[in-house]
Every structure is written in C-alpha cells, then in structure tokens.
C-alpha cells in the first residue's frame, strides 16, 4: 500500500516535473545554452528536502559476530551527519553476502528492493538490467547533485556504464588491492625441511611430504559462483578472441584447456590425498577457515585485514604455528606464466532501482557526494581518533587493534558502507597508500605477509588481465548461468574424484553434458558478439 502510494506520488511528481520542464523550455528556448537549461531543471536540495525522503541503501551482511549491519554507531552517525541535515531518512537494507542475488531477486519481485541495486561483477548487473530492475540514468543529474563523485568517477561511468545505448550503471573507485592472499603453514614446511614452493610441482611435493609426515593436507573448498581457478593454467598470451570467448568470472569454461589442466591436477591431488578429500562439503569460508585454524589443512585463501580473527584462532590452537605468504607461482605449473584476474577499473557496480522516485534518486547522488568528501569517508574507514586509531607524524591512521568500545568498526573496517564510493582506503601518494594498506591489512607482527603480497602483486602485474566486457547483453549467460553453476559443481567434483586412469573419459563425458546444459549456446552467442566486434 505504502509502495503504491509512493508510486502514485512519484508518477504525479514526474508528471508535474515534466509539465514544469515543458513550460521552462518554452520560456527559455533560444536564449539559454542547452547545458545550463538542463542543469537549471534540477531542484536544489542543498538545504534539505521539504518533506522527508526515505532512502534505502543496501549493505552486505557478512555475519560478523556481534555486528548489526543495519543499526550500529556508524549507521546512526550517517543518519545524524547526512540524513538529518538533508531531511533524509537513511534506511540500511541487509543483503546476505553469500546469497545476495537471491536476496535481490526476492526483494525486486516483492517491490522491496533498496534504491541502489549493486553487485561486484558486471554479468550479474547485466542480468539485473535484463530483468528491467534499473532505470536509465541522466548523467547531468549525477554531475549536478554529486560534483565531487562525478569528478572522481565521471569518466569511468561514461566509458563503462552504458549498455545497449543507455546509461544504467555507476561505479565506485578501485584502488590497487593485494589483500586477497593465500597463506601457508611455515612451521609445517620447516618440519619437512622444505622451502616455500615456487611451482605447482613443488607445491604438490610439499603436500605429499606433509601427508607422509602426518601433518595435514592442502585444504581446498568447493569452487562455485566465481571462477578464477583456471588462471594458473592459462597460456600466456592467448588471443583476444579466445580470452573473450572463455574467460568469464560468472561461468566456468569447462571445455577450455586450462580447465582440463586444472581438473587433471585436482584429480591427482585428490587421488593421492594431498588435499581435503571432502572438499566438496566445504561450501563456505567458515569450513575452510575452521580446517586451517584447527590444523587440518596447511593453506588458506582469504581477504586479510588487520583485525582478522584467523591468526589469533590458529595460535590459540597451536601456539607454535607460523604462517607465510604463498606466492602466485606456487600454483602454476613449471614453465607457465603466473597469471591472475585483473579487476575492471572500478569497484562496486551500481544502478538505481527502477521504482526509485526522483527524490530518492537525488538523495542517492547526495549520499554519494557526501561520502566522497574526504573527512566523511575517512571517519567511516577509521572511526574515532584517539579511540579506534591515532594519527602518526605522516598523517596515517594507526589502528588501535584492541579497541572494542562503542565506536568499534566492523571486521572489515566498515567497508560495506563506504564501498559505494571506493574499494580501499586512499591517501595522497603511493608510499602513504602502501603504509595505510599495511595498517589496514596486516595484523600486528604480520606485516611481512602484506610486504610479500605487495611484491608478488606488482611483479606479476603485466600478466593480469580483466575479463572482456561485452557491449551487448549476452542473454544466454543470464538464461543458463544458474543451471551451469549447478552443473559445474556436480561435474567438476565427479572429474576430481574419478580414478586417475578414468579421468580423461569422465572429463570428456562431462564436457558434453556441460555443453548440452547451455554452455554451447553461450559460446555461440559470445562468438557472434566477438565476430561483430562488440567487446573490449
């Protein structure tokens, strides 16, 4: 009912605005430049809205212990500092990180989705757009209400935000991030007199030695939803066409040779008990983390932050545990270049809910503008000076990691609030940024992990490549994505668990099944788009 009322109000207002615009246009035509006329058409809300606007902002709920994502000190602070100033009621809507698409689909179907629709990856955003979940954007309007944000992101929005001729997406900045890392048990390596592996062959030897020494396995979780598993097995450098056709974060390229190589190695590891032989039961991070922390497995891949509980938990279970950074090339077969996935030059991808009113949309732009202000973003990232952090001589915020009072930040430093404008904390120059990253990502005493990660990240920079971005909607991706993701799990686990001598025949049969389940349609449609040059 409320929604309908809002819709009717929005319609009436839109009609009124259109009438006013037509009237203004008639009066001013001929003597005002078009741009000024368009800008003049936007209502100035810098003194706040006359009647309160309720703006719904999505926020990832990562189930941090003791953290209420929609009601905490910082959400209240946002309301007090931003909402109250402009007469906006800022409502946060929790989106489960593990099943965000489900959440969004259900909210969209019931008309309860927040004003911003977001996702970290483009294919899913295109799928939302295909459902007509978003409204077309007026870029001048963004520039009008959010000039600072527009200065930062305008060019990116112009370049990447269009689909089928209309602008639908806007973005957050993405500074370089190298905190997605794999750590390895250094004390286990010492126990078997081995160094940190530098190739897949060496890595498998380490795992074999661990197994023989009865230390544990190499871990492993079920690969699902995001498919980056095959990067270490890719040839450098492949043609643009081949890359565009197969490399896709959202759909596993089951029939591609890198997948074949990946599965062959996995099959070897599985049959020799080098990895967790129940890896297909490890469907979330909690289980792999538990295995690492309890000393069942000796490697763990995660996004490290200065306040991560992983290391403390590990040490609680085994005070002698030591960890080291596992370089990219430890997973790469000898003679192959260590490739990784490059992100597109933007962080969070966002669109405006199709049902958001003009006022709600304006409020969103104002919110982005407010958050783009250095002070506001800094406060959200670091908290209260003297409590959560202290400033050092260079102006860097030094985290007080033991702080647990009222102003406590979430476990990922409140990122799920400020990710709308930027993906990582930023300072004036690279050196400061590096120092800030160390503070934000490295737990005390483990700075060497980030130092190693930094070195590894930039030494392999030239081999990072983002997925191709198609400028037309590949509708078969949205059509078959969920079925193929299910199929992938079933088939790749089957290949991994096949007896070694039967691997090739199992893989061959699985490829056929995967193609029939819709992958062939995707390949055909992508090939047609590639032939037409609709990608970059």
């Amino acid at each position: 009912m409320k929604r309908n009322f809002k819709k009717i109000t929005a319609l009436c207002m839109a009609a009124t605005t259109a009438a006013c615009l037509a009237a203004c246009g008639a009066k001013t035509s001929g003597d005002t430049p078009l741009e000024t006329s368009a800008k003049g058409a936007y209502t100035d809300y810098s003194n706040g809205f006359d009647t309160q606007v309720t703006m719904q902002i999505p926020v990832y709920d990562r189930a941090f212990e003791g953290w209420n994502v929609t009601d905490n000190y910082y959400t209240n602070w946002i309301q007090a500092e931003f909402g109250d100033k402009y007469n906006i009621n800022v409502e946060f809507v929790a989106i489960t990180r593990e099943s965000e698409v489900n959440d969004y689909m259900q909210m969209l179907a019931s008309g309860k989705a927040p004003d911003i629709i977001f996702h970290y990856d483009m294919p899913q955003m295109l799928a939302y757009n295909d459902e007509e979940a978003m409204q077309e954007l007026d870029l001048d309007e963004i520039a009008y209400y959010a000039p600072t944000y527009w200065d930062n992101m305008g060019e990116t929005i112009n370049t990447y935000g269009a689909v089928d001729g209309g602008h639908y997406f806007f973005f957050a900045q993405r500074p370089e991030a190298y905190n997605s890392i794999t750590v390895i048990r250094k004390d286990w390596l010492d126990a078997v007199n081995m160094d940190i592996p530098t190739s897949l062959e060496e890595f498998n030897e380490v795992l074999t030695a661990w197994k023989e020494a009865g230390l544990g396995n190499g871990g492993l979780n079920l690969v699902q939803n995001a498919f980056t598993y095959d990067y270490p097995f890719r040839d450098w450098k492949m043609s643009d066409e081949e890359h565009a056709l197969y490399s896709d974060l959202s759909i596993a390229a089951f029939t591609w040779e890198p997948t074949h190589k990946y599965l062959k190695n996995l099959n070897y590891q599985y049959n020799n008990g080098l990895v967790d032989t129940e890896f297909y039961l490890n469907t979330d991070d909690a289980t792999t983390q538990a295995d690492f922390v309890s000393g069942t497995s000796g490697t763990y891949n995660f996004y490290i932050t200065s306040n991560t509980p992983v290391i403390d938990s590990l040490l609680a279970n085994d005070p002698d545990a030591e960890i080291a950074y596992l370089p990219f090339n430890a997973l790469v077969p000898e003679g192959t270049i260590p490739q990784t996935r490059a992100y597109w030059p933007f962080g969070m991808i966002m669109g405006i809910n199709h049902s958001a009113s003009d006022e709600e949309r304006a409020a969103v732009w104002m919110y982005l503008e407010w958050m783009s202000q250095e002070d506001n973003c800094f406060y959200l990232q670091n908290g209260v000076e003297g409590e959560n952090y202290t400033l050092d001589a260079l102006g860097l915020a030094i985290k007080n990691t033991d702080y647990s009072g009222e102003y406590k930040l979430s476990d990922n430093n409140n990122k799920d609030y400020w990710c709308l404008v930027i993906e990582g904390a930023q300072y004036a120059d690279d050196e400061l940024n590096y120092r800030a990253n160390l503070n934000n990502w490295a737990p005390k005493g483990y700075e060497y992990i980030i130092e190693d990660s930094y070195e590894d990240y930039f030494s392999t920079e030239e081999y990072r490549r983002p997925d191709a971005l198609f400028s037309v909607v590949i509708s078969s991706v949205a059509e078959y994505k969920s079925e193929l993701n299910e199929k992938w799990k079933e088939l790749y686990v089957k290949c991994a668990m096949a007896p070694e001598d039967q691997f090739e025949s199992v893989y061959e049969a699985a490829c056929q099944e995967y193609l029939q389940a819709g992958y062939q349609s995707i390949l055909d449609e992508k090939q047609a788009a590639i032939d037409a040059g609709n990608y970059k």
Binding site: V101, N102, E131, E132, A133, Y280, L281, S482, E490
Partner: protein, 322 residues
C-alpha cells in the same frame, strides 16, 4: 467387520440425529455459531494460503519478469512447459522423486503402525511415556540440524561411526558420500525422523477399539499376537487406508528440506528431485515461470494419484477420502 460397521451406522436413523442433519444451515450457524467461528480459522488459512496463492500459477504460462509482475508479463502459452519437459534434469527429477518417496513410503509407512502396535502393548505407563517422547523428538528437529548432525555421525573422514569402524579394524563406509549408500542412509534417516510422530494417529485409532472385542478374542483363545493381528489391525484399517491415500498424494512432492539438507555435490544421482529442482530454478536461478510450471505439473500428478488411490480404496470396500 461388516456387521460391526452396520451396527455402528444405526444411530443415523435415530430420529433426533436425522432431523438435526436436515436442519437448514442458517439454523445450525445460529445455534452453534461458536463452532462455526472456530471453523473459520482453518477455512481462512486455506483460502489465503492454498487458494489465494493459486492465481500466481498464471506465470507458468507467461514470460514472467519480476518487474512487470504477474499481470503485465507477456503470455507465452505452453512454451514454458515445452522447455521444462525437454530439460534433461526434469526426467531425472521425476524419477528421483518417485524413487525416494516410493521407497520412503514402502519402508516408512508400516513403521508407525508397527511402532503403535508395540507401544500399545507396553503396560508400564512411565516406560511407555518416555519411549513415546523419545520417538516424537526427531520430528521437532529441523532437517537443517539433522543434516548437520548426520554428516558429523556418518561423514567419511571424520564421522563418529566411521571412526569407530576404523578403530575396530574395518574400512570406512561412505554413508553419505557415494550414491547408493546415500540412498540407504537417506531412507534410514527420514524413516527414523518421522516414524515416532506417525504413531500418534494410530494410537488414537487403537484407543477407539472396543475392549469387548479383545475380551471376546481372549475367550476364544487368542494370544497377544493374535489379538493384534485379528482385532487391533482390522479395527484401525480405515485409518491406515486414509493415511495411505494421503501419503500417496505426497509421493510426487516429498520433502525438500530432507533431500537438500542431506545432499552434497558428490552424490547427485538421486538428489535431483522435483522440490530441489524448483528451488534451484526459482530461488537460486530466478526462473520463476519454469519453477511454477514444474510445481503445477507436480500438483496435477499428485492430484491424479490421490484420486486414483481413493478410487481404488473405494473399490476395495473402504470409505475413501473424498
């Protein structure tokens, strides 16, 4: 049995009852309005949740877009059905649903009856109560919990039972991690979970058995076992048949949670069932038209099964359900 039944039907010809049955509805409502108000609660529930939601079935015939809604989405006739019938997983799902539910019915249906008969024979009151409570308990556990516990108990690498087996010198058994083992474990767990609760109706039916029949049987020289076979069982037969018909109606649907909580991606041979497919397509995949079409198909088959079972029951001389 026939004569007992006829005898029981006598009061219907009793004058008072007869005329009471003939009174007009409005008279009955005025006279016993409290009962009708009580009746309103389940009727409202059924109207809202069972009939009210039925109009959503139109999306099985539409290219449903969540933004356009039920009415504004485009009609596509039977396209959605053609699509799902041509899906490879659809046939598999129908087979698995029938297989899992068929096996659960065959093995699970007699269990509550046997249990109820056994419980009825227990004379120690407290022992009986404690046993009953313990048997009912699993019914109140969510399958999410049962699934998690099942992997702790039956897991291959770290399950309690496998640890025990290995310590006793045996070989680990993939109870939940190999297709045919999974099937057996699944049936075992679902039967265990539901059998206790299922006894309630039979115990109630047994309470209604005329004690004189037992006395007569005892006089005729029947021992306890014979009394169960020749008195108790025939007396609760109508209840058994009614429940059988109702269970047959569920053979096409079955429980989503039980399969979903116990499945894993390594054992998918029997776990792709209709409810799981609906979940994957509708909730995970956002293909609401397809999942509604599968749901509709499932309901139609279930209805046919119920009507057939009812018809057969009536042919066999039972009262049936409808």
């Amino acid at each position: 049995m026939k004569s007992v039944k006829d005898k029981n039907m006598q009061p219907i010809t009793d004058r008072n009852t007869y005329t009471y049955g003939k009174r007009s509805l409005s008279y009955n409502i005025r006279k016993r309005w409290q009962l009708y108000v009580l009746l309103l609660i389940p009727i409202t529930f059924a109207l809202i949740f069972k009939y009210g939601s039925m109009f959503g079935l139109v999306i099985a015939f539409k290219d449903y877009k969540i933004i356009k809604g039920f009415w504004d989405s485009n009609w596509v006739g039977l396209d959605v059905f053609r699509k799902i019938f041509s899906m490879k997983d659809f046939g598999l799902a129908v087979r698995n649903t029938l297989l899992l539910n068929g096996l659960t019915l065959i093995l699970g249906f007699p269990m509550p009856i046997i249990l109820a008969l056994l419980l009825n024979e227990i004379k120690k009151k407290y022992f009986k109560k404690v046993t009953q409570t313990l048997l009912y308990l699993p019914h109140f556990l969510s399958f999410v919990i049962i699934g998690a516990i099942a992997y702790q108990i039956f897991g291959l690498n770290s399950g309690v039972i496998n640890n025990l087996i290995e310590n006793l010198g045996g070989i680990r058994i993939p109870f939940l991690q190999e297709n045919s083992h999974w099937l057996v474990t699944y049936i075992f767990i679902t039967v265990w979970q539901s059998m206790g609760w299922g006894t309630i109706i039979y115990l109630a039916a047994i309470t209604g058995v005329n004690p004189e029949l037992y006395e007569a049987a005892t006089v005729d020289g029947a021992n306890r076992f014979m009394r169960v076979i020749y008195v108790t069982l025939p007396c609760i037969k109508p209840t058994v048949v009614t429940l059988l018909i109702m269970n047959l109606g569920r053979i096409m649907s079955g429980s989503f949670e039980s399969v979903y909580a116990l499945r894993n991606v390594a054992t998918t041979k029997f776990t792709t069932t209709i409810p799981v497919l609906i979940y994957q397509m509708g909730i995970t995949g956002g293909k609401f038209s397809e999942s509604t079409a599968i749901g509709l198909f499932q309901s139609v088959i279930a209805l046919i099964l119920v009507l057939t079972a009812d018809w057969i029951a009536k042919k066999l001389g039972e009262e049936g359900l409808i």
